[in-house]
């Protein structure tokens, strides 16, 4: 009886996992989309809040980390931007757009690092 219950619970958990993941991704996407809209209006602080929320809701969502990195760059928070780009690239290593953003960011970051004698 117990083993049957256990098997049922496991089955239910496995069956509901993809839908839970889809829910999380859906909510994260909403936050990302809203973040894009406010960033386009110049409200970068609000965009950061939205993309941080998206990254919390779905920590496997590379787009949220990429956008966060861009926003941190815009705010001059270069260390945070690097960490966010690293995370985005770790989640989606083949994404050419993230790579392109990162390369552009590195140019600036290296210049600042050189200036600081780091």
């Amino acid at each position: 009886m117990t083993s049957r219950h256990l098997a049922l619970a496991l089955f239910l958990a496995l069956a509901s996992a993809p839908s839970a993941w889809a829910d999380a991704r859906g909510q994260a996407k909403e936050q990302v989309e809203f973040g894009i809209q406010v960033a386009q209006r110049g409200l970068w602080k609000e965009a950061i809040y939205r993309w941080e929320r998206a990254a919390q809701i779905d920590p496997t969502y590379a787009a949220a980390f990429n956008n966060l990195a861009v926003a941190y760059e815009h705010e001059g928070q270069l260390a945070k931007a690097r960490a966010a780009y690293d995370k985005a690239l770790a989640l989606d290593p083949g994404n050419a757009l993230v790579r392109q953003n990162y390369d552009l960011f590195k140019e600036i970051n290296d210049r600042v690092a050189q200036k600081d004698g780091r």
């Binding site: 861009v70 760059e73 757009l97």
Partner: protein, 265 residues
């Protein structure tokens, strides 16, 4: 009827474009990255571009051109009041005997004797510049200059602007047409003799109140042309200075670097 159809068609196309843009998985956005200045210049109300040690070049007086350019850039920026005074004769100061009150001591004259004739100064490379470097470390001298000009931030240093020649393989694009008359561009590696210039300025920022060096920055930029191309030295000088001016200005003030990034959905 035709006009109505055309109008409707145009509206539909616009709607389709808008819909496609909304559905697209990415969007480009302009950003401005603020870069903090390296030096805190809040204690200074004036800045004095004092002059630079530079070799004699037939076409370009690197000292005077650099002084003029930096002063005008700083005036345009309005960061501090730019002291408008004659440049300091740094080469002569560096060569003067250490017993003179006006002159900085020469710490290692045995190892690096300065040329005797001030009219014939040849500075072709970094080694030639080295023998004059001691002038920048003379705290008493710079403190006195600071007192003279109401304790400004002093900018001095050395500017090496020299011709250079290089030969080797370079990749260039060659245009060709196939049998159908289609234009093609193919990369071709060719051996080329090239000549140009190298610009290596060292900017030294000195506290006019104490005479001490606050910050030193060295840049290196070079430009090479096809050996047959005749480019005036002065225009090459300005092209090279243009490349490093933002970095120089960023030492004194915050700058925003404009760029474009891609946001993902």
């Amino acid at each position: 009827m035709t006009a109505w159809l055309r109008k409707t068609g145009a509206s539909l196309t616009l709607m389709l474009v808008a819909w496609l843009a909304a559905c697209s998985s990415y969007t480009e956005i302009p950003i401005e990255t603020p870069i903090q200045p390296k030096l805190d210049t809040s204690a200074f109300q004036r800045i004095f571009i004092a002059g630079f040690i530079a070799g004699e070049n037939e076409d370009v007086d690197a000292n005077m051109e650099t002084v003029r350019l930096l002063r005008s850039q700083l005036r345009n920026k309005g960061l501090m009041r730019v002291v408008d005074a004659d440049t300091l004769p740094l080469l002569e100061v560096a060569k003067r005997a250490s017993g003179d009150d006006d002159a900085p001591p020469v710490p290692d004259q045995q190892a690096a004797p300065a040329p005797q004739d001030p009219a014939k100064v040849v500075i072709n490379d970094e080694k030639d510049l080295e023998q004059y470097q001691h002038v920048f470390a003379n705290v008493a001298y710079w403190k006195r200059i600071g007192e003279e000009y109401q304790q400004p931030l002093i900018v001095t240093g050395a500017v090496l602007f020299a011709p250079q020649q290089r030969s080797g393989f370079v990749q260039r694009e060659q245009e060709s047409y196939d049998s159908f008359g289609r234009r093609m561009v193919v990369p071709v590696r060719t051996y080329m003799e090239r000549k140009g210039f190298v610009l290596r300025p060292t900017f030294i920022f000195i506290d006019g109140r104490t005479g001490e060096t606050l910050h030193t920055e060295t840049f290196r930029e070079e430009i090479l042309y096809n050996a047959t191309q005749q480019t005036p030295a002065l225009s090459s000088y300005f092209e090279l200075m243009d490349r490093l001016l933002p970095a120089f200005l960023n030492t004194l003030s915050a700058q925003k670097i404009k760029g474009t990034r891609t946001l993902l959905r």
